[in-house]
């Protein structure tokens, strides 16, 4: 968290709504991203993100200046998102088919060698993960939270975080296996 963030939060704690609005502006994409990756539906992610910020506002008195604000509010969002996905109705309705609201990726180590089909498969594999595994995976792989932070956010033990994370990664690795092989062949062909 930057020094400006600390100042904004200090002001927000004293009831400065405009300062808090600026905080929301700074972290909205990240919070929304966490929510969307877990709930997979824009409308729900929107609600989760809003609610996360509202709860953060309500609890600002307990937030200690100097600590990073982003992980804190993301943990709130993740917990709300997981609770939503756990709900019976949400499970009945299921997740949207296909890539839904997950658009084309930025270039990255994997994106460089995977085609759009592989990305779609990865996206679907992430969506197919059990909600608890998906949340743990997103919080670690995307948000880069520590196991302790994830455990605290989701109310589970660090050991459970470790096992869920491994299971999630293993599943995703298996889903991607054919595409990793194809990408390797393409690279070989390009090199020869």
């Amino acid at each position: 968290m930057g020094p400006e963030d600390s100042f904004l939060i200090a002001r927000a704690r004293h009831g400065d709504v405009r300062a808090f609005e600026e905080i929301v502006r700074l972290y909205q994409r990240r919070v929304y991203g966490v929510a969307l990756r877990i709930v997979r539906v824009h409308d729900v992610a929107d609600d989760v993100a809003q609610e996360a910020f509202v709860r953060a506002w309500r609890s600002l008195d307990r937030f200690e200046l100097g600590r990073p604000f982003g992980p804190w509010v993301c943990r709130i969002a993740a917990n709300l998102a997981v609770n939503h996905v756990r709900s019976p109705r949400a499970r009945e309705e299921g997740l949207p088919e296909g890539r839904a609201e997950m658009p084309a990726p930025d270039p990255g180590p994997l994106a460089a060698v995977l085609d759009s089909e592989a990305r779609r498969v990865l996206d679907e594999a992430v969506a197919a993960l059990p909600a608890e595994q998906r949340a743990v995976f997103i919080l670690r792989a995307v948000e880069e939270m520590s196991y302790a932070d994830i455990a605290g956010a989701l109310g589970i033990s660090p050991g459970t975080v470790m096992s869920r994370l491994f299971r999630a990664r293993e599943r995703l690795a298996r889903a991607l296996a054919p595409y990793l092989g194809r990408a390797a062949e393409r690279r070989k062909a390009g090199a020869s």
Binding site: P3, E4, F7, H14, G15, E21, R25, Q28, R29, Y32, L36, R37, D43, A45, D46, V48, Q50, R55, S59, D61, F63, E64, L65, G66, R67, G70, R75, I76, N79, N83, S87, P88, R89, R91, E93, E101, M102, P103, P105, G108, P109, L110, A111, E132, F137, I138, A141, V142, E144, G152, L165, R167, E170, A173, A175, L176, A177, L180, G181, A184
Partner: protein, 357 residues
């Protein structure tokens, strides 16, 4: 390396193993190409997830902050933080309002009640009142109006269980419902079991050599490319003076504070005499913000010490161990700072005996 040990590779990737375990995995990886490739696959999975960004509808983020703040007007901050005297005062006001109304209504009871009665409002002025006298009480005690909803919603639903106390220090007791949840039902006790084999790709068996070999060739990712300790994990300790100081005055608000060299603000803070733990906490935060906004000013060191004093007072007033923890952390940070000028003063604070419960 067996399947159980494979799980350690995931933790190894995240830098979450203890040094001894990490050394064991390092030694194993040096002699096991299969596990080294599997590690690369795990890393590739993470990179792949990161490369799937989220995009909202156009203009969504332009409006989102104002939609959030529109809801804040209905949300009370810091539950259970009101001073006790406010509740006593509210009770007195309540009695003052209700008693005359009750007496008045008792006097009026024999007469037929009009459809709409105009009566004197307790605060003066007059207003239309369609309610029975008792409703004056229920109106005060009624829950706050539901949060403003920027999007239409069929009906409020309590579809989201509260956040565990670990996630929020003070979980709200009566949450405003989430909008989308209005389309869903409550989720109590709905923790799904995790099917072990669901979702696996056909033909992809555990430890499939082709997978790890292909991944290793397809990707140039290596263990060394990922730092063992993430940036956020190495963030400054909570409450650390150093963590909130530095160049806090760079922001627009910070510049505004810096404009008067802190003189007015310092004097204003110096004049505050808190009467409660919460007020001490606010003062502590103000001193922290001041010190952060004037890291190089002549009053910075004094502001730091004042923040520690306020933190100590908050603890003494509340007896709350969290306040004590915050105070001691802040004091330790100050005492560990090379440029601290008033260490004896802070050391005396640190020696403060614990308040009696």
């Amino acid at each position: 390396m067996n399947g159980h040990e494979r799980e350690r590779l995931s933790a190894y990737l995240d830098g979450e193993l203890k040094p001894g375990e990490r050394a064991e995995v390092d030694a194993h990886l040096a002699v096991c190409p299969e596990c080294a490739r599997f590690l690369a696959v795990l890393e590739a999975v993470d990179d792949g997830a990161v490369s799937l960004p989220t995009v909202a509808p156009e203009g969504y983020f332009d409006e989102f902050p104002s939609r959030v703040t529109a809801r804040l007007g209905t949300v009370r901050r810091g539950p259970a933080r009101l001073p006790r005297w406010t509740w006593a005062a509210a009770a007195v006001v309540l009695l003052a309002v209700v008693t005359p109304l009750t007496v008045r209504q008792a006097r009026l009871r024999p007469a037929p009640a009009p459809a709409q009665e105009t009566r004197e409002h307790p605060r003066g002025g007059r207003q239309k009142d369609e309610a029975r006298p008792g409703d004056a009480v229920s109106a005060i005690l009624a829950p706050a109006a539901p949060a403003i909803r920027p999007r239409s919603s069929p009906a409020p639903v309590s579809g989201v269980p509260p956040i565990p106390s670990k996630a929020l220090a003070s979980p709200p007791k009566a949450e405003p419902p989430m909008t989308a949840s209005a389309r869903r039902e409550p989720s109590e006790g709905a923790i799904p079991a995790e099917p072990v084999d669901a979702g696996r790709a056909p033909g992809a068996e555990r430890g499939e050599p082709a997978l790890v070999a292909a991944a290793a060739e397809a990707l140039d990712t290596t263990r060394a490319s990922r730092p063992a300790v993430r940036e956020e994990e190495s963030a400054p300790a909570a409450g650390s003076i150093e963590s909130v100081s530095a160049t806090e005055a760079r922001g627009p608000a910070g510049r505004a504070v810096a404009a008067d060299e802190g003189g007015r603000t310092f004097r204003r803070l110096d004049a505050i005499r808190p009467a409660s733990a919460e007020a001490w906490r606010r003062l502590r935060d103000d001193w922290r913000a001041f010190a952060a906004a004037h890291p190089d000013g002549r009053r910075a060191d004094e502001a730091r010490v004042r923040a520690i004093e306020a933190a100590c007072q908050a603890w003494l007033a509340s007896g709350d161990e969290r306040d004590e923890e915050a105070f001691r952390r802040e004091a330790a940070a100050y005492l560990g700072a090379a440029d601290a000028q008033q260490k004896p003063r802070v050391e005396r604070l640190v020696a403060t005996p614990r308040p009696r419960p």
